[in-house]
Amino acid sequence: MKSQPNVVSRIGHGVIDSIWRLGSAARFLGQVLWRSGLSWRRFQLIMNEVYASGVLSLIIIVVSGLFVGMVLGLQGYQTLQTYGTEQSLGVLVALSLVRELGPVVAALLFASRAGSAITAEVGLMKTTEQLKAMEMMAVDPIARVIAPRFWAGVISMPLLAAIFSIVGVFGGYLVGVVLIGVDDGAFWSQMQAAVDVRNDVLNGVIKSVVFGFAITTIALFEGYDAMPTAEGISRATTRTVVTSSLAILALDFVLTAFMFKGI
């Protein structure tokens, strides 16, 4: 039996391993960007993947957005009415969604719906030697398989986040105005006075683009780097969801600190 390595050396190995992985992920991203020409020349390749990751994520995004908005309406009303400011419900719902919940929750859902699918798909292609076969057919798998999926994710993510936000606002409206009876005019006008297109809406879009970048990079890298066994794919898929969720939350903090520091 092998001697148990001590904690310090285990942590050290872990750190070195993560730095190594970060480095190869960065190199991978560079390769993907460098060899993206083909997928933009043959836009159909990207279209197919937008369908797979964007259109197929639509239902979960719409349903979750509606419920998150409804919960915000309900909870927000409970809190605001104790201060007699339930008129600001629209502001609360809209700002929470546009600035934070829209991009972040949509990204988390995207990571677990589309990100895991991408990892499993690419991992399977690697395991069954489809990527190697492609290489032997003188077709670059990074340009043909990886890059279209990457750009499809980057395109889909902000659209999904926007749909999430708008459906969420509608959900808040349903609960706040239709169900509870907050004044319709106040709900919209206060919202419109408080939500700024550049500071709030645009920043939310920027956030979701960054998240889309991060999720697809992680998902593709994990798939491409997966051990070519069934167990390897399942582990890579799990890692995709965990890593990209953490990355979304960490990036969200950094971006928020940058964007809203003066406000």
């Binding site: 279209m47 369908y51 639509l58 809209a94 999904l160 936000s165 459906v167 919209w188 939310g204």
Partner: protein
């Protein structure tokens, strides 16, 4: 899946996404910062701006007529110079006064314009002469306490004696 069908769904998705973005911009947000309507800038000096922020609304008679576009400290006369960006469709007389007010008791601060009676209107680069600073709650309270103290004879309650550090 058939290619035409796939393209249709992708097109629909992209359309829905852009519609949502547009909805966020128009229905949820206000397009003011993107509107190309002409604006003009005037300045106003305040002794104290309280917690006025850039992009705070400027209201006249309760209607939003513009936004604060810059705040800086004037090192010459030690006052805050606030740049007010006003919507071109609203014109104000030259002797309009500006005051920093608070919406509600603890709400955000905004600049309130009170129109004067001059025949000439404010134009870009003009300065609003009559200004009223923000009410600072701490000053208000200490003033109140000070008055109370001077009302009540022979009590030092209001004045907290500072610890002298005499050698």
């Amino acid at each position: 899946m058939e290619r035409a069908k796939l393209d249709f769904w992708v097109g629909l998705f992209v359309l829905a996404g852009f519609a949502a973005l547009l909805g966020l911009a128009l229905k949820v947000g206000n397009m003011s910062s993107f509107s190309s309507a002409p604006t003009y800038n005037v300045q106003a000096d305040f002794n104290n701006i309280g917690s006025l922020k850039v992009r705070a609304p400027i209201k006249s008679a309760g209607v939003v007529v513009g936004r604060v576009s810059a705040i800086r400290f004037d090192n010459q006369n030690f006052e805050a110079t606030v740049t007010l960006t006003l919507d071109g469709q609203y014109q104000f007389p030259k002797d309009t006064s500006a005051a920093i007010m608070t919406s509600g008791l603890l709400g955000e601060q905004f600049v309130a314009l009170d129109a004067g009676g001059d025949v000439k209107n404010l134009a870009t680069g003009d300065k609003i002469k009559i200004t009223q600073s923000a009410v600072v709650l701490e000053n208000l309270i200490s003033q109140f306490l000070y008055n109370k103290a001077s009302d009540a004879p022979k009590t030092d309650a209001a004045q907290t004696p500072t610890q002298g550090t005499q050698p």
